[in-house]
């Protein structure tokens, strides 16, 4: 990361006066467009039809609750407005649906219409940056990169920046400075690997929770892998919020294009595929693992495909979670986590296996998806609002982390066993500002 002084110098080196957002009616499209209007005077919302682009603008205004978005926005359609808008743009931001062929066709048009010095960014959450610009001219490839915001971008600051093989390093540095200083982004540079860093690690955990739900039911799983394990939003509620279709696109992409030590945990549960065929897509379809019926919260029975009131689901004794929460409520995080590590019973063991899997998987990806574990830590914190893996290791201590991972029958990352043996590093997560306590929710 460059110093503030260097970043400001980079920022002054070129102007971003005009941004075009392609796919501005989609969730990521209008969310990103709204974000740009804070920092850029002219933002063009483009969609298949002008009406759809107008819908995107209205959604952007609603999302950030400011009518002033409109004063910096124009809308248009691809047919009539794309060439002129892209020709004027300093930054073209692609937020079409996650379909390689659709994006490729759009980039054909963008390549013809763009200025040689404009930057082209894609918000793809996992398609290969190199593949998306393969066969294009030098100018396009030098100025093309991934800028992966998380939804909703006005709230979640974690952002992945992915350079392709041919991306000009100066362009990458500039986009980082612009995103950091003007858009308030927490930037993490990742490799051009399937699902990059955050979704690779995050959806592994989410999918493992979904797999467990087939056996244990959603209520118990979300309690076991709940806030006390280092997250504000429980895993199955997260999948419902993201959308089952998006979840499937991400895990299928990772499952098909990687083959790591946790491969089996990335296979979409069969019952999810079956229910998706019947239209179950999570919150956007009116329900997923959970749904609301008036004031009542209902939980899905995955085998039967019907819903039962959450309160009717019988849970085993999970008193240890209350004990952990009581300690967290006083800010005693290390003591709370020890209670979790020492809790007896099959349920606590299942929860420990998921958390051990998260830590083990993340540390094994360091060097592959990001240079070091710190990149994964930052994106899990700022992108998912989860306790970063290093924070968990630091809070429980490396010896406890080794016991946790060994106890789950998972491979212990070398860095953690070394730290347990030598005491170095004293901490994995050395950040001068981030409050690690915020990840330990007392619930």
């Amino acid at each position: 990361m460059s110093s503030a002084k260097e970043a400001r110098k980079l920022l002054a080196s070129r102007a971003i006066e005009r941004v075009v957002v392609l796919g501005a009616n989609g969730t990521m499209g209008y969310g990103s467009a709204a974000l740009f209007t804070q920092a850029v005077p002219h933002v063009t919302f483009l969609a298949r039809t002008k009406d759809k682009a107008d819908e995107g603008l209205a959604a952007a205004i609603a999302q950030v609750r400011s009518p002033t978005v409109a004063s910096r926005a124009e809308t248009g359609d691809y047919e009539r407005d794309l060439e002129a808008a892209v020709g004027r743009a300093d930054l073209v931001f692609e937020a079409l649906t996650e379909d390689f062929a659709i994006k490729k066709d759009m980039f054909d048009r963008v390549e013809k219409a763009r200025r040689d010095d404009s930057i082209v960014a894609t918000v793809t959450s996992g398609l290969s940056i190199d593949a998306l610009c393969e066969g294009r001219g030098d100018s396009f490839r030098r100025n093309f990169l991934g800028l992966h915001f998380f939804n909703p971008p006005n709230v979640i600051t974690g952002t992945e920046l992915i350079a392709g093989r041919d991306t000009d390093p100066a362009v990458v540095d500039f986009v980082e400075a612009f995103s950091r200083l003007r858009l308030g982004r927490e930037i993490v540079r990742t490799a051009d690997t399937p699902a990059f860093a955050g979704n690779r690690v995050g959806f592994k955990v989410l999918n493992e929770a979904a797999q467990l739900a087939e056996r244990l039911g959603p209520v118990l799983v979300d309690r076991l892998v709940g806030p006390y394990t280092g997250r504000a939003l429980t895993p199955l509620a997260t999948i419902d919020l993201v959308g089952w279709d998006i979840h499937r696109a991400i895990v299928d992409n990772v499952f098909e294009n990687t083959n790591d030590e946790a491969h089996a945990t990335l296979e979409l549960p069969a019952s999810m595929a079956r229910l998706m065929a019947k239209g179950v897509l999570g919150d956007k379809s009116g329900g997923g693992f959970f749904k609301r019926d008036g004031k009542a919260r209902l939980a899905l029975d995955l085998a039967k495909g019907d819903y039962v009131p959450v309160g009717d689901v019988k849970l085993p004794d999970l008193g240890y979670i209350d004990d952990v929460a009581a300690l967290y409520a006083q800010g005693r995080y290390a003591e709370g986590i020890q209670v979790f590590l020492e809790a007896e019973g099959d349920e606590a063991e299942i929860a420990r296996k998921v958390i051990a899997g998260y830590v083990s998987y993340a540390f094994h990806r360091a060097g592959e998806v990001t240079e070091t574990i710190t990149g994964i830590d930052l994106i899990m914190g700022a992108g998912f609002n989860w306790a970063p893996p290093s924070v968990l290791v630091d809070t429980m201590g490396p010896e406890s982390a080794v016991r946790l991972i060994e106890g789950a029958g998972l491979p212990v990352p070398e860095a953690i066993s070394k730290a347990a043996a030598s005491g170095e590093p004293r901490r994995f997560f050395e950040h001068p500002v981030i409050n690690v306590g915020k990840y330990f929710v007392a619930g």
Binding site: K5, T68, Y328, G331, I434
Partner: protein, 410 residues
């Protein structure tokens, strides 16, 4: 005999965007994180702390909890038995705690003091919290039965400027815009993800509703949960500390000057007193200049940046001329010239201030000093004012009632 020096060893701020009620955490967790974070950040052992001062406005109201000094002993077993106390002066509570701690160092009583500013405010609704804040005014006279009394009082400060010198809303909007933009650079700022641009700050619709006269939502500081801990040390301790940190004593910032005045409580009495004065709030002016005088700094040109009390845009507008950046009544000139921006001639609130960074009432004065420390040691990250050596704070309780100012520098 020269006054003994007071060194600032650093500290720790909680993330002001956090909602501790949503995290289901008790007040004690907030204090604990801030103090333990401070010990770790500064490489200080708990056993080294000799005394603690807690600045807090109204935990009795927000958290049904008094006796806050005692809570310090809950943070670590080594603190049991330490002399601790709590200080209150509305929004200036944090600075009063700093004054008490630094005077004890000057008196030679202790060598290492912890100062904690703390407030948990999101325990109640906005209107209930607004009434609690009303107790910083003369409640029966100025706040009883009035919804959101403080925006109204600071709206009147704007009205007073308008009457004496003229005041345009667009200058207030620009102040808001700069604070929000700076907050985006501060990873602990409450509003760092909030949507703001000048058009929004100027917006006069329900998206930016009026809350008190000319004061609209975008003109206001925030309701914030937060705690900040700093460590103050005597020269003897600072010398020892410098050796073990492998740095020169001259690299450790000192409190070079301080100011402290209290004006009459009612806003109407303040403006009546100042009717023939060039300054609208002359006691605030006196606080600023007495800090400069004690620091041996002639005027604001000797200050590289300011962390001021922008509880509302009007209070920052007032601070601009009271610091002497412009002639009285001409604060708008500094706004128009861009002097207040981080790379401007007189940067104000690079942290985002109370509007951008947040305003956990009792913590604000301590947060300002910590930000000054970060600036003069070159550790302010993306909101660093290049080459800053002297920073000045202005912390105000009530409607310009209690004023405190510190100059921290190397």
């Amino acid at each position: 005999m020269a006054t003994p020096e007071v060194y600032v060893l650093g500290g720790y701020q909680t993330d002001f965007a956090r909602n501790w009620t949503k995290e289901k955490k008790h007040f004690s967790a907030l204090m604990r994180e801030s103090v333990l974070g401070g010990l770790a950040a500064c490489n200080i052992d708990p056993e080294e702390v000799q005394s603690a001062h807690v600045g807090n406005f109204a935990a009795e109201l927000y958290c049904m909890q008094g006796h806050l000094g005692a809570f310090f002993t809950e943070v670590h077993p080594a603190f049991s038995g330490l002399p601790t106390s709590r200080h209150e002066a509305a929004c200036a509570s944090g600075s009063i705690a700093l004054l008490a701690a630094s005077s004890e160092i000057e008196a030679g009583r202790y060598d290492l003091q912890a100062v904690v500013g703390i407030e948990q405010m999101k325990t109640v609704s906005a209107s209930e919290g607004g009434a609690f804040l009303g107790t910083a005014a003369w409640y029966a006279e100025e706040a009883d039965g009035i919804e959101f009394p403080f925006p109204k009082l600071f709206g009147r400060l704007g009205d007073e400027y308008d009457k004496r010198y003229g005041l345009k809303d667009e200058h207030l909007a620009e102040i808001s815009k700069v604070n929000y933009a700076n907050a985006k650079l501060n990873p602990n700022a409450q509003t760092r993800t909030w949507y703001m641009n000048k058009e929004h700050a100027l917006c006069r619709t329900d998206d930016n509703p009026a809350v008190g006269g000319r004061i609209r939502i975008a003109d206001c500081s925030q309701v914030t949960d937060g705690a900040v801990t700093v460590f103050l040390a005597s020269r003897a301790f600072a010398e020892k500390y410098a050796r073990r940190q492998g740095i020169d004593l001259s690299e450790i910032p000192r409190i070079k000057g301080w100011g402290h005045n209290t004006a009459r409580l009612r806003f109407s009495d303040k403006v009546l007193e100042s009717r023939d004065d060039r300054f609208v709030l002359p006691h605030v002016r006196s606080t600023i200049t007495s800090a400069m005088k004690r620091a041996g700094i002639g005027d604001v040109n000797g200050i590289d940046g300011i962390e001021t009390h922008d509880c509302f845009t009007t209070s920052e507008y007032m601070a601009i001329d009271h610091f002497g950046i412009t002639e009285p009544g001409e604060s708008w000139k500094a706004v128009e010239e861009g002097w207040l921006e981080i790379d401007g001639k007189h940067p104000i609130n690079p942290s985002g201030g109370l509007i951008g960074a947040g305003h956990p009432v009792g913590a604000t004065g301590v947060r300002q000093l910590l930000d000054g420390y970060l600036q003069v040691t070159g550790r302010a990250g993306d909101y660093q004012v290049e080459g800053a050596r002297n920073f000045q704070t202005l912390n105000i309780g009530g409607s310009g009632t209690t004023s405190c100012s510190f100059i921290i520098g190397v």
